[in-house]
């Protein structure tokens, strides 16, 4: 044995002890580290662990359908699939992106943008990278479950509107909730929610919108589902029943095709809007998926302004239709006697200026009845001068001018009723008496919306009972404003309007309906003054706007129709026939001459008239092939969220107070 270990030194006990203490010290330090993680911050890490293991996939609630007054479905949903990208593992996602983009036929750039936009979201929340999955996309996802585990299918409901912009301004459209809306909602909306953006979709969004459910499942570290947790079922939105009569709506829409204007038909007894159309229109189906920036810009910047709901937003001079209000003001104020009459030579001079009658030949001796029937301007010039602007303004204001009607649609405009005070307030200028003369025939600064005219004249002919127009069918009566008008006045006005259509020489006599007591008033309103028109040249946009407001029957009217055709020039030829058609359709139906259109749960009306169908085919790019979008065999899509209900139930009528 070697000698190297023989010579013994004593062991460095002190240093060994130091090492012992160091070990105890370091261990204590490490234990402190565990204490901090496991005791102090335990809740935080427990949350993170939960977030790791649980994946939440929303179950989309279908929106409530929109039914017409007889329960026919106008707007409903069709099931569709969106492609979800699960972002739990960003590195994996990044690696698979080119494959995904290729397989789903979307640009890599597009997906990247969406990923960037979603960086603020918690990473366990999946994002929709393709809202409308084709059958090919579904095959792609199914066949690549193993190697591309980050894709998932989400069953969604798409809104299905009638094609071709039919009733688009009434129904409105839906879209992804904006960040401002999320903030305003106080936590009710979450990013990605689909909410109503316009029209009834927006007005009754709370009622129509369901509550999305959530399916929570346990996933392992590679994102594979290994178990299910609780599932919150979606609560479908409730349907709403509208006052709209589909048959009348169809007539109104068809009459406006290719024109620029609006039709509003109201039951003056209760304010129920039975038809409401505006053209040019847009296809809300375009919004149902995801509208591109360009499409939106095109719609927004279109000079024809298809997004404008002319029925409630077009504020234009009413022209001669205003003479009904003038006559009412005259008879009610008693500022001039009821038999007030004027000789009309074809023009008259006021304040040093000559005001022409539309008929240069003149109307001879004119009383109020004849003035309405022949729409004599000179009579109303004189009347205007007699009444004065403030008296006109007082009555017009009380009959609804310059105020919103309160219709249950967002964005209604109030119109303008000028007065001395108004001019002072808005322009800081004095009112010129000459302006009163223009206002007396519905020209000048005066502006109304089509719905306002229907509302006002509907109120006058029912003795001053102004029912708030509404689109939601309800058992309870809608709010009513009473401004009592004497029976004598109502009779005189009604007889005058009856004469317009039914007396020889009446301005609307072309629209006479045999067997139906159609009453009405034509209007042709200048967009700018005649002098301005001469300067600008006769362009379409500057042609006179044609108006007609008609109702039937003479006693106890049931329907009042307000028609605007922009650039239609003559109320009698451009607007009155439309009102006549609507009223005729109303009577045909009432008298059982025409069977109502049968509408199934399909939003595409089977009886779309050819002209409208052609328009639909042109405008509606999206093929309406809903059935093909639903796999009949659920096994082909094993992990898709189950639909809550196959189709929304259209039967229960909405009993909601607007």
């Amino acid at each position: 044995m070697s000698l190297w270990f023989q010579n013994e030194n004593r062991l460095p006990q002190m240093r060994l002890t130091v090492i012992s203490y160091s070990i105890v010290g370091l261990m204590a330090l490490l234990l402190l580290g565990f204490w901090k993680l496991q005791i102090v911050n335990s809740d935080l890490y427990a949350q993170l662990a939960e977030r790791n293991r649980v994946r939440s996939i929303p179950i989309i609630a279908p929106r409530g359908a929109m039914l017409d007054r007889y329960g026919r479905v106008i707007v409903d949903n069709y099931p569709s699939f969106s492609v979800l990208l699960l972002r739990d593992d960003p590195q994996q996602v990044e690696r698979l992106l080119p494959q995904i983009a290729d397989g789903l036929n979307v640009s890599l750039e597009d997906i990247r943008q969406q990923l960037e936009a979603a960086t603020a979201l918690a990473h366990f929340q999946p994002i929709v990278i393709k809202p409308e999955a084709t059958p090919g996309d579904r095959d792609f996802i199914e066949s690549h479950r193993a190697d591309i585990p980050v894709l998932e299918m989400l069953m969604v409901y798409r809104r299905r509107y009638p094609p071709g912009g039919f009733m688009a301004h009434v129904s409105g459209y839906v879209g992804e909730v904006s960040s401002e809306q999320i903030e305003e909602s106080g936590g009710r909306y979450r990013p990605g929610d689909i909410v109503g953006k316009a029209g009834l979709e927006r007005q009754y969004n709370d009622h129509l919108m369901g509550v999305d459910g959530m399916r929570r499942s346990v996933v392992n570290s590679v994102g594979r589902e290994v178990g299910r947790l609780e599932q919150t079922d979606a609560v479908p939105g409730k349907p709403i029943r509208l006052t709209i009569d589909y048959d009348l709506q169809l007539v109104a829409e068809e009459a406006l095709v290719g024109k620029k204007g609006a039709v509003v038909a109201i039951d003056p007894k209760n304010g129920e809007i039975v038809a409401m159309a505006s053209q040019p229109s847009y296809d809300p189906n375009d919004f149902a998926v995801r509208i591109t920036k360009e499409e939106w810009q095109n719609l927004n910047e279109d000079p024809e302004r298809p997004l404008l709901d002319r029925a409630i937003q077009a504020q234009l001079a009413p022209g001669s239709v205003f003479k009904i209000l003038m006559a009412t003001a005259m008879l009610e104020s008693k500022a001039v006697p009821a038999d007030y009459h004027v000789f009309c030579p074809g023009s008259a001079e006021f304040y040093g200026r000559v005001f022409h009658d539309w008929d240069k030949k003149g109307h001879g001796d004119v009383d109020v009845h004849k003035a309405i029937v022949h729409s004599c301007d000179v009579f109303f010039y004189n009347l205007g001068k007699q009444l004065g602007i403030d008296r006109i303004s007082f009555y017009a204001g009380n009959l609804g001018m310059g105020h919103k009607t309160g219709v249950d649609l967002p964005g209604e405009e109030p119109g303008v009723m000028p007065s001395e005070a108004w001019k002072e307030r808005v322009f800081h200028q004095k009112w010129y008496p000459g302006e009163t003369i223009s206002v007396a025939i519905g020209q000048g600064a005066i502006a109304v919306t089509p719905i306002q005219l229907a509302y006002m004249i509907g109120g006058i002919i029912t003795g001053g009972r102004f029912h708030q127009p509404h689109l939601l069918l309800s058992d309870t009566a809608s709010p009513e404003i009473d401004f009592p008008i004497s029976d004598a006045t109502v009779d005189t006005v009604t007889e005058g309007m009856y004469g317009v259509v039914n007396e020889p020489g009446g301005t609307g006599s072309l629209s006479k309906l045999p067997g139906i007591e159609l009453c009405g008033k034509t209007g042709s309103a200048q967009v700018i003054s005649n002098q301005g028109l001469a300067r600008a040249g006769k362009q379409a946009a500057l042609r006179d706007n044609a108006w007609f407001v008609g109702f039937a029957p003479r006693q106890h009217p049931e329907i009042i129709v307000s028609v605007l055709v922009q650039g239609g020039e003559h109320g009698a030829s451009a607007a009155a026939p439309i009102a006549k058609n609507v009223v005729k359709a109303y009577y045909d139906k009432k008298q059982g001459k025409v069977a109502p259109q049968e509408l199934t749960t399909q939003a595409v009306p089977p009886g779309v008239p050819p002209s409208f169908a052609a328009q639909a085919a042109r405008v509606n790019k999206q093929e309406a092939v809903p059935e093909e979008g639903v796999p009949t065999n659920p096994d082909t899509v094993p992990t898709k969220p189950q639909p809550v209900s196959a189709t929304p139930q259209p039967t229960p009528p909405a009993t909601l107070n607007p």
């Binding site: 090492i19 012992s20 890490y45």
Partner: protein
């Protein structure tokens, strides 16, 4: 010599502690793998433990003086084995670390660790001065640097680092002078930037991730984050064996090996961690106690070499699990799954037993 030393001459406390730690380890390996394709791993681990115990007993019968006697030869064999690995070794995970021995792949650096312990014990025992001379310090450094260099070439930074505390503790016990120690530390500090250039990209990434985990929460910081989530979510009593979501769903990386303590912390909570760390502390203190009672300096250096290497393993691994240290790939001795590592630890403990059996000066 006590050739016929009985069972009572063994360090029964040390054995009890080892069994305790191994038991917890097997339990947690079972829990971490029973529901996966790795099921049955704990049984394999039991076999490794049995084999290790056998080797430990075998090694303890051999007088450590005769082992130390052959230190130079062993050292040469170790160096040759490391060279052999580099030449013909089996590559796994991008590193050449394995030599095929009897159907299993043996991690040669584990044997090299043992040989370095023995060689340094022999070297420091021969230094008889009260204070460690600079030349001797230099020799010891070179003795260690050669195998470290070879292991770094594999590359295996973790194992290479593990050798440093052996020479550091040895030098400290051999009476290193403070100024020398200071210079060494300074030199090491200067080596860091040079060494940085030679790190593999994945190693650099691990270090930067450790220093700034928030910059890459889902990249390589992912492992540490998931480990911390597992530990933290365990709370005081844990989620129960087999019920840790981080563990069972595979969020904890290599949960049966390097991160086994994270899996344990999740399922058995702070209580389980406390027991485990107390056991490890007891193990290390027991080793030091054995060193204090060694018959000679050679025995003491041998035991302390083992203590240094095991202590370093434990501290670095535990620190990594809670995010105090970067991911280094250093397993937790006696608990992490792995044949070579297990055999090394038992052989090293065999050396300790050996020293204890011969602690009484005859």
């Amino acid at each position: 010599m006590n050739e016929g030393s009985g069972i009572r001459d063994y360090d029964l406390w040390l054995l009890a502690i080892i069994f305790g730690i191994c038991g917890i380890g097997v339990l947690e390996i079972w829990s971490a793998t029973h529901a996966s394709h790795l099921a049955g791993m704990h049984v394999k681990q039991l076999w490794w433990i049995a084999l290790g115990l056998g080797l430990m007993l075998l090694l303890s019968r051999l007088d450590y003086h005769s082992v130390l006697d052959k230190a130079p030869v062993l050292y040469l064999i170790g160096i040759l084995a490391l060279l052999a690995v580099l030449a013909v070794g089996h590559t796994r995970y991008g590193a050449k670390r394995w030599l095929p021995v009897m159907g299993e792949f043996l991690q040669v650096s584990e044997i090299a660790k043992l040989i370095i312990i023995v060689s340094l014990a022999r070297f420091f025992a021969e230094v008889r001065t009260e204070r460690l001379a600079l030349t001797d310090l230099f020799k010891a450094a070179v003795l260690t640097a050669v195998p470290i260099g070879l292991i770094l070439l594999q590359p295996d930074l973790g194992t290479a680092m593990v050798l440093v505390p052996v020479v550091a503790v040895g030098a400290y016990l051999a009476g290193i002078q403070w100024k020398h120690a200071a210079v060494m530390v300074l030199a090491a500090a200067l080596m860091v930037p040079i060494g940085w250039h030679h790190l593999k990209p994945y190693q650099k990434e691990r270090v930067t991730t450790f220093l700034r985990p928030e910059e890459d929460p889902k990249g390589s910081g992912y492992q540490i984050l998931q480990s911390k989530i597992a530990v933290g979510s365990g709370g005081f009593w844990g989620k129960g064996l087999g019920h840790g979501s981080q563990n069972q769903l595979g969020f904890v990386p290599v949960r049966y090996s390097d991160f086994i303590l994270a899996a344990l912390a999740e399922e058995l909570g702070f209580a389980g961690v406390f027991v485990t760390l107390v056991l490890y502390t007891a193990l290390l203190l027991r080793l030091i106690q054995n060193a204090q009672h060694a018959k000679d300096r050679a025995g003491m250096f041998l035991v302390m070499g083992v203590a240094a290497i095991l202590g370093f393993h434990v501290l670095v691994n535990v620190a990594m699990v809670i995010g105090f240290m970067p991911v280094t790939g250093i397993p937790l001795p006696l608990m992490s799954y792995g044949g070579s590592a297990m055999l090394f630890v038992f052989l090293a403990l065999g050396l300790v037993m050996n020293v204890r059996l011969r602690r009484f000066v005859n």
